[in-house]
Symmetry: C2
Subunit: 390 residues, 2 copies
């Protein structure tokens, strides 16, 4: 993995106002392409495109593509250029209660490295941050990268994240009011490169990008594990809510979610370090007696909260993720049967196949969105469009 | 109200591809303006703009504005043009269980006529449609207009409206599966001019346009009346849900909404034709003994469903509309107190001031959106933008 120029990340701002960003965007959309092709697509003149291509190549953003070996073109074939997805990297992080998951991706989203570390259950909030910093440094060093080679980091945390970036966590209580991006700013200078987000919000981004929700724009992602939580995508965009609290139905006693979470037990065998939901998922998969009944009762308990979400939003699709997604196919008919009497229409249900990497993969997507936004001069990777803008 | 050209509505399609639509859009954004001003704003040449202005004036879309009487300009002042908002009309309709409300508006949204008619409680579904057709004809005739002078009609109905335009109504049971737009198509040729929508969905559009939610983009509008229902606006757009069922929390027994609706009674005096909520609103306003307590118990019963919405979406603002909105200010502290223990944050609450015309006003907005969409070559007044489109 060659690293061309240590200051490359800082070129981003300068690029904004240049025509070169138009050429770059075209190449990121489709590579490789010839100068003529780019001139046609951008409406710029051939000499302008030639100059821009030279500039972009010098900066390490694009490179000449190999000439295809097949076919004998008459005369010398036109040079073709491609976007250098390896020109930069982003990191996706999932820091949960018990585990850190790290993913390193190229600018085209290809995952090039992954790591997983357990967190000692007795670790304090401060120790968890130090553990994350150390693991991140080590992870990047192992790939021959320094922190400033990373253009953006998307981090999922087990708690609500308000507009100010401060966490509200009932899971890691001493993370409440923590500004995690700021705490990592020494490692990744420029906090605008670090994006902290509620974990299940990243999970829904991942499902929409590369998971079960690729074809849907109105999606609820329900994580079924030791904690039950929900992330929403509406009209193809993450819906956080005013204070980052969208999807927090666990609060409402009438829906009984807290009782289900607290009261849940699995009487079968548990491996060391396994949660009750981990063990139940394993038991169902191995066909242990009674496991499916326990799962069914668990889903009956969860159904009113899922039904409230479905009735509130009428989504296209509900993706089931988290520990119990490992159960796979049996999940959907069981939950569907409980949702039937509680809803107008049972929505399409799908089980996540992203496994333990879902949240970190959403972190990668979030980080890539931030890079895209900076490349195109927008902020935070979101576009707004009002209903009445003619 | 002069009517220039009977075939004007059909000019819409032809306008799409013309530069004139750019000029028209500029004049709709700001009027009056000079040819120079329009040339500057559109980037078109003065002669081009002059030709377009002439064309648009001949079609009746724009007209020369009166020269301001104030100030003595040196020499002859430049001609100024304005958009003719009176060039076309839209109608907003609210057809509820007991009442039809009609609003006639110009293309700039100014309401120029209004009407209200009671519906006999024993009327069948078919009779209700006939009543609506007759009242609409009569209403337009009274304004010197024929149905084809109306460019679009937005109709609010007490039921869910699916993507196919078919109604699902528990309020007027024999409207179930009705395609109301099609049934009115003979009166308003071209069904694409008739837009049928759930009534509370129109209410939220109206609140966002001219009501309590003008400054908010994430809004839940809760109608508190004989029926309790909810409309959602997310990111400045109406959120209907996959099957038009968003906000239908009344279904979920755990939230107890149906019990509140069915069990609600007001022991005080009732005027003829008044619903229990009408009578309660009147009693609270006149300071009748015990009325505020009854209202408080009603709101306590509604609170879990409102809390579920708030937790699911975390909206900026909840607008309270419907019959009980007439109570005014006392409503918000009472509901707020019940929401406190059930939510993470009590959202901002506001009481609608649009009165009985809220739904019909939303119908006007919906109809204007459809006109805007056709003027700008889009469909159905909505724009989509994915999260990753650079």
């Amino acid at each position: 993995m060659a690293v061309h120029d240590r200051s490359r990340g800082h070129d981003l701002a300068a690029l904004r106002d240049l025509n070169s960003s138009v050429v770059l965007r075209e190449l990121r959309r489709e590579s490789p392409r010839t100068v003529s092709g780019l001139a046609g697509a951008t409406g710029l003149s051939r000499p302008t495109v030639e100059a821009l291509v030279e500039q972009l190549a010098a900066r390490g953003w694009i490179t000449e593509a190999a000439v295809p070996a097949t076919g004998r073109a008459p005369g010398r074939p036109a040079r073709r250029y491609r976007f250098r997805a390896e020109a930069g990297h982003v990191v996706g992080v999932d820091i949960g209660l018990k585990r850190i998951v790290l993913l390193l991706a190229r600018l085209d989203g290809e995952i090039v490295a992954r790591a997983r570390h357990d967190i000692p259950s007795e670790a304090t909030g401060a120790e968890r941050i130090e553990l994350l910093r150390g693991r991140l440094r080590h992870f990047l060093a192992g790939q021959g990268l320094a922190p400033h080679d990373v253009w953006s980091v998307g981090i999922g945390v087990p708690g609500m994240v308000g507009e100010t970036g401060r966490i509200r966590s009932v899971i890691v209580p001493d993370w409440t009011d923590l500004d995690l991006a700021r705490r990592l700013a020494d490692d990744f200078p420029g906090t605008d490169r670090i994006l902290v987000e509620n974990d299940v919000n990243l999970a829904v981004l991942a499902e929409h990008w590369r998971g079960a929700a690729r074809l849907a724009d109105d999606v609820a992602c329900v994580r079924l594990g030791p904690r039950i939580s929900c992330g929403l995508m509406i009209d193809g965009r993450l819906h956080r809510g005013r204070r980052g609290g969208a999807g927090e139905l666990g609060i409402l006693p009438q829906l009984g979610l807290e009782q289900v979470q607290k009261g849940f037990a699995w009487a079968g065998e548990r491996l060391p370090g396994e949660s009750a939901t981990d063990a139940l998922a394993r038991a169902v998969r191995s066909g242990e007696a009674g496991a499916l009944d326990v799962l069914d009762r668990f889903l009956a308990g969860v159904a009113p909260a899922v039904a409230a979400l479905v009735l509130a939003l009428d989504p296209e699709l509900v993706v089931l993720s988290g520990t119990l997604a490992r159960v796979g196919d049996p999940l959907t008919p069981l939950l569907s049967a409980h949702l039937g009497p509680l809803t107008l229409h049972v929505p399409q249900l799908a089980v996540s196949t992203l496994g333990r990497e879902g949240v970190a993969l959403g972190g990668v997507r979030r980080a890539l969105d931030a890079v895209e936004a900076r490349l195109s001069g927008r902020q935070h990777g979101t576009t707004r469009s009002g209903p009445h803008d003619a």
